[in-house]
């Protein structure tokens, strides 16, 4: 580590990049499983930002937030996977574009 110090800003930038990659992926990719992974990526980008801020403030609060978010993300994945399985079971190899019966 010669002369290059990793500051909070680096972590925040990485968090923002993860969030953007996840958000773009969610909008662009059509495979339901990949879309689920993109949601996780977004949430983990946010987690990284929380930890970076908490570290800068020396505040334990930001760290505990991450634990809450992890639990919520896990609950979301459970429901999301259940939904994906239900959709794929009805029509194997379905993509998000196939879910377009409702419109008007």
């Amino acid at each position: 580590m010669s002369g290059l110090e990793v500051t909070t800003g680096w972590y925040l930038t990485l968090g923002a990049m993860l969030f953007l990659i996840g958000g773009t992926g969610l909008l662009v990719r059509r495979n339901p499983l990949i879309m689920l992974m993109c949601v996780e990526l977004m949430l983990n980008g946010v987690n990284l930002s929380f930890i970076a801020f908490a570290d800068r403030f020396g505040d334990v609060h930001g760290h505990t937030v991450v634990l809450f978010v992890l639990v919520v993300a896990a609950a979301e994945v459970v429901v999301g996977l259940g939904l994906v399985v239900a959709v794929l079971r009805a029509s194997p190899r379905a993509t998000a574009d196939d879910l377009s019966a409702l419109k008007g």
Partner: protein, 543 residues
């Protein structure tokens, strides 16, 4: 990485404050436990009775707390959760919503192949989430409430997964819901990064007296919070999911989505904006006004274009969200701050200004009035949907038009005069006809906008009210128009065995619809009490 000092001290818990949530969650878990241990021992009606009793109990407890505490705010859990008039009034609304949804769903569960105990448990769990959102005074608690509400709702729609439309609806709601939650969470992170706190009062205290126009971290955080909650309340341009989800979901669930889920989202929005970042109103009020313009216009115009009544009501619920936004955004333009300091008995305390109080209380009144209209309208749709399904079945599935196509409402007044009359009252109330709750609600938000010198917004709101009235009148005219074709059958479909009926309609749904119509008319004729309650509720918000 720096060292973090950890001195853990368990926060004091005021269990009495948390009673409504404990009742809701306890009943949900109890039902699930019994249903999984003894699946056959539980008749269908037990689940309905439990959800009705639990919803009513939560509402009654909140009403008792409202009366007993004289609207003094009671924070608990280190100020992370608060019981004030605002949260109690919304808790009563959520309880009423649960009761009505359970009543309507009782006769519809068979039709959607939904298991009654699971339905009831998820309904109660989502209601607990809504109640937590109404009283959350910490962004993380708010997020947890939002997720409890949303995750339970994803499953509630997916319970009817035998139908392709329900699967699609649940999947769309899930993807967009998760997307918006991530935005909301990122907003929390940025606000935390800027202010060092996630407690709404803490943030509000930290920011008090400073405009901080160049704190881009804070402004980006506020913007992301607005995006996240904008998705939840289906404000344009974050509304794309709403019509599809509302159309595909079972009608009783749609009613719940359109009323309680939306009210909880707006309650969260009001608390975040007016408690945490009130001084930044110069930044967020223009955004909110822009959202209101877009939401009003798109909701009204798209509602006219629909030929499906359920989809039309989905767009109309978007336009109602626009009216609530008109109320909430009415802080701007008055040139005064949203809060000021008063000295009471030597102690300094923050209160909302008169303008801000009027703005939020008009929004609260609108939410309550609109929730009953939406619950009632979708209850009517649920009843008619089941009737049309049995008609289709007896006709051998010859009619392929969607169950809520406008053409199917033709001649309803002749087949079902009382139901058509009730639906007419609810639709006219949504259109804002005088002597209904909808008129008073629209009047109040427009008055709040004019008080804040938002003349253009008020004018646009009035014009779009007229435009969307056309969409409602189209349905009313279709119902009362003489039927030209001979396809309508006069005989009501044979009553299903085991369900009490009234004139061929399920008795529970009739009760729910009567309740909605009664509230709509009584509040429309005598709005004073509810107006005072909304005002008291907003005045007691802890800052």
């Amino acid at each position: 990485m720096g060292q973090v000092e950890i001195a853990f001290e368990a926060p004091a818990v005021d269990w009495w404050v948390l009673t409504p949530q404990i009742i809701l969650v306890g009943a949900a878990l109890g039902l699930l436990l019994v249903a999984s241990l003894a699946p056959r021992a539980l008749p269908d009606w037990v689940s309905t009775i439990v959800s009705i009793a639990t919803g009513a109990a939560a509402a009654i407890v909140a009403a008792v707390q409202w009366a007993a505490w004289d609207l003094a705010p009671r924070p608990t859990l280190n100020g992370a959760f608060v019981s004030d008039g605002f949260s109690l009034l919304l808790t009563v609304l959520v309880g009423a919503g649960v009761v009505m949804t359970a009543l309507v769903a009782h006769s519809a569960l068979d039709r959607y192949d939904m298991a009654p105990p699971e339905f009831a448990a998820l309904l109660l769990a989502s209601a607990a989430g809504a109640v937590v959102m109404a009283g959350a005074n910490d962004l993380i608690v708010l997020f947890l409430g939002l997720e409890s509400l949303s995750i339970a709702l994803y499953v509630l729609i997916a319970l009817a997964g035998r139908r392709a439309s329900a699967r699609e609806s649940a999947m769309k709601y899930f993807v967009l819901g998760a997307f918006s939650s991530a935005f909301f969470l990122y907003g929390i992170a940025l606000v935390y990064g800027s202010t060092g706190s996630t407690n709404l009062s803490g943030i509000g205290g930290f920011l008090f007296g400073s405009i901080r126009e160049t704190d881009y971290l804070l402004l980006a955080g506020i913007a992301l919070l607005l995006v996240g909650l904008g998705f939840k309340v289906a404000a344009v341009p974050f509304h794309f999911w709403a019509p599809d989800v509302y159309e595909g979901a079972p009608s009783p669930v749609t009613g719940y989505l359109a009323s309680i889920a939306k009210a909880a989202g707006f309650a969260a929005l009001a608390r975040v904006l007016y408690v945490a970042v009130a001084e930044q109103s110069t930044a967020w009020a223009p955004i909110l006004i822009g959202l209101a313009f877009a939401t009003l216009a798109v909701g009204a115009v798209m509602a006219i274009c629909q030929n499906d009544v359920k989809r039309m009501l989905a767009y109309s619920s978007i336009s109602h969200a626009g009216f609530v936004l008109v109320g909430l955004s009415a802080v701007a333009g008055s040139g005064e701050a949203a809060r000021w300091i008063v000295r009471v008995a030597g102690e300094e305390s923050l209160i909302l200004t008169t303008g801000a109080t009027g703005a939020v209380s008009s929004a609260v009144f609108y939410l309550i009035a609109y929730s009953f209209m939406a619950l009632g309208s979708f209850a009517v749709l649920s009843v008619l949907g089941s009737e049309q399904q049995s008609a289709d079945a007896s006709a051998g599935g010859a009619d392929a038009s969607p169950p809520h196509a406008l053409s199917r409402y033709g001649g309803l007044a002749r087949r079902r005069p009382v139901l058509a009359l009730a639906f007419t009252v609810l639709l006219l109330a949504q259109a804002g006809v005088p002597l209904t709750a909808g008129f008073v609600a629209k009047f109040e938000v427009i008055r709040a906008a004019i008080d804040a010198s938002g003349y253009v917004l008020a004018a646009v709101a009035m014009v779009t009210a007229v435009v969307s009235a056309f969409a409602y009148l189209r349905v009313v005219l279709a119902m009362y128009a003489p039927e030209d074709s001979a396809d309508g059958d006069d005989s009501a479909p044979a009553a299903r065995a085991g369900r009490p009926r009234w004139g061929g309609l399920p008795l529970t749904s009739v009760f729910a619809i009567s309740l909605a119509v009664a509230v709509t008319v009584v509040v429309g004729v005598l709005p004073q009490t509810l107006l005072e309650w909304s005002r008291d509720a907003v005045l007691s918000i802890i800052l």
